[in-house]
Amino acid sequence: MTGGNATAVRSAVTRALRGVHWYLKELTGEARWDDYLRHCSEHGHQPMSRREFERRRADERERNPVSRCC
């Protein structure tokens, strides 16, 4: 395998892993925090603490139950 090939493979693998990481963060909702920080910096708000933020999200889930099928 030539050096150019190895680099191409490595960058493809990196891209794939990054994609998986992105997907898992989105799927679990972990990425909502990053979205919130971005939103705050765009609008010049002072963000709340992560603890507070996650607490509010949990309270939301308490009010909106999601059904799980059989």
Binding site: H21, Y23, L24, K25, E26, L27, T28, G29, E30, R32, W33, D35, Y36, R38, H39, E42, H45, P47, M48, R50, R51, E52, F53, E54, R55, R56, R57, A58, D59, E60, R61, E62, R63, N64, P65, V66, S67, R68, C69, C70
Partner: protein
Amino acid sequence: MSTTVSRSDTDGGPPGGAGRRRPTLKSVLVWTAVAIVGAVAWTVLALARGETVSALWILFAALCSYAIAYRFYARFIAYRVLRVDDRRATPAERLHNGIDFDVTDRRVLFGHHFAAIAGAGPLVGPVLAAQMGYLPGTIWIVVGVIFAGAVQDMTVLFFSMRRNGKSLGQMVREEIGIVGGIAALIAVFAIMIIILAVLALIVVNALAESPWGVFSIALTIPIALFMGVYLRIIRPGRVLEATAIGVVLLLAAVIGGGLIDDTGLGEALTLSKEWLVLALVVYGFVASVLPVWLLLTPRDYLSTFMKIGVIVLLAIGLLLARPVLQADAVSEFAREGTGPVFAGSLFPFVFITIACGALSGFHALISSGTTPKMVAKESQVRLIGYGGMLMESFVAISALIAAVVIDQGLYFAMNAPAGVTGGTAESAASYVNGLGFDTTAQDLAAASAAIQEPSLVSRTGGAPTLAVGIANILSQAFGAGMAAFWYHFAIMFEALFILTAVDAGTRVGRFMLQDTIGNVWKRFGDLSWRPGNIMASAVVVALWGYILYVGVTDPLGGVNQLFPLFGIANQLLAGIALTLVTVLLIKHGKAKYAWVTGIPLAWDLIITMTASWQKVFSADPRVGYFAQRQRYADAQAAGELLAPAQDADQMDRIIYNSTLNGVLQAVFALLVLVVVVNAVVVIARALRARGAVPTTEEPAVPSSIVEPAGLFATAEEKRAMAEQERLVGAGARGHGTFTQEGPSR
């Protein structure tokens, strides 16, 4: 209120009404190849008699059929029948609040939706249906999903999305009528109770007398609690970290279970079915009143990851192991209806038994409500609704394969109720030999020793059989010696998401109950009123707990008696959902396409009503609940004992249970008929008015989001997205739209 925006008939394809393009040569070649591979696979399955057939043919037949259905039929439904319109903003875009209305990436939403619809049903139903041979199950899972299940999920998702994510019950009430609406509400609640009871019954049957299983399942609770605390206090929000830790602990729990067998702990965890019922009821109650962050949410992460992991693992395992089919294509039980797993003939009971993998009414509750509030573009209902259900069907096919590649003598020894197998390896072997299958007591003992379970005789409910099948396939694929680990891993994985479903279902039932009773007793409807929560949870748990207890103590076998009730209930719910979407197609002036949902509806009503009729009126005591009741009541009056009852008390129990099951069955069918009759009136009115009937569809608002419709963006979609990006500037798509106070109301 508004009427449908009517558009010209020529606008048949995506995007921007460019009309139809000629297919490229490459696309013609690819789809011809897919069609040929699929046709060959089906031919092999249909014609093979007595030769060894690889299970991979089932896999190929299914995958090729799915691909063709998604490419052509789902596209036809999306663009011709529903007329998805990407110029129209979805509720996620219009009503964005960052909470329930939230524009979500289509691939992420696909994952959410799939995690919500996939549970134990598609795993268990096909396993039980395997008693009829592999062919009836395979055909119904594939044909059923293409023409019924996926169509239902996608159309309900679409119509709910056009109504800001209204629930199924709400839509029935507003679009069909108040009578139908009330019937649907009661039906949904009652069906949910039955489903929870049967799911719990499957767990009880899988864990009874199995200390290893009980140990690893019990540990999932502290593991989830730990994750909950981790995410709340130690490292808030680091879900991936917490889940990774949880998965490692879970695997350790499965391995650890193997070490406790001969210890005092093992003895203490050898629980009878009655104790397990008590444990589950207490657990269900506590779990549904605890805050979600502590138990439900973290366990949901675990079960989602396990679900995806196991499906991928099993698919790889199948490709590596290439197991051979052991079951007949069509067994004699399919022809005669005398099978021990569930009674009744192929029509209608194979359709009832397979349930979720082909068509599941329960999905309509998910496709309306949660998912439609998160769809970014209308055209994505094809990927999420239709595609998500194809994935579920694939899970069902994998489960079917796992059941038909194990030795069929073992299959029947495991799935026939204890009343007929006698419960020991010797009696079970002679019973199975009587059915015409080869097996010996030594074979059965060896099979249970291989997975380190005390016995495999009459381990009904489908979960243990599936776990044996998975263990076989994975040991064949990844090397022998780990069968016991794989078996208990599979049991843990099934029980894990059944517990999640029981917890979530109890919670949803509690909300429904509080909401309904809140109409007459205001205070009770206040969801933050603690005594109300506790009372409502107690009622819901008591209802399913009671039916669970009835099933567990039934001398005729709880799965044998209750699974048909569960299957019919689920398919009846599908009947309500398909009735609704058919009414909506007609109300929107699309009567010429009403066959798309009308044909699956007609078929669903035929099978469910035939099955209900037989369960209520059949003179055969193995099929009809009331005939069964009569048979035992007559014997009791004559002072006799009828097998499998062993004393007068068991006679009473059979008589009582048969009556209860028969009444429930009749009530479900009647509720659905009320909805259907109400719908027929509405349809007649709509047809007389030639279409233009008011509906509750939200008026169109132009959309400013540009997103691909399918899993992968086409070149054209990429150009459109780049163009949009240039116009609005970076950062304007999807994110960055929280309310001032953060992600809260």
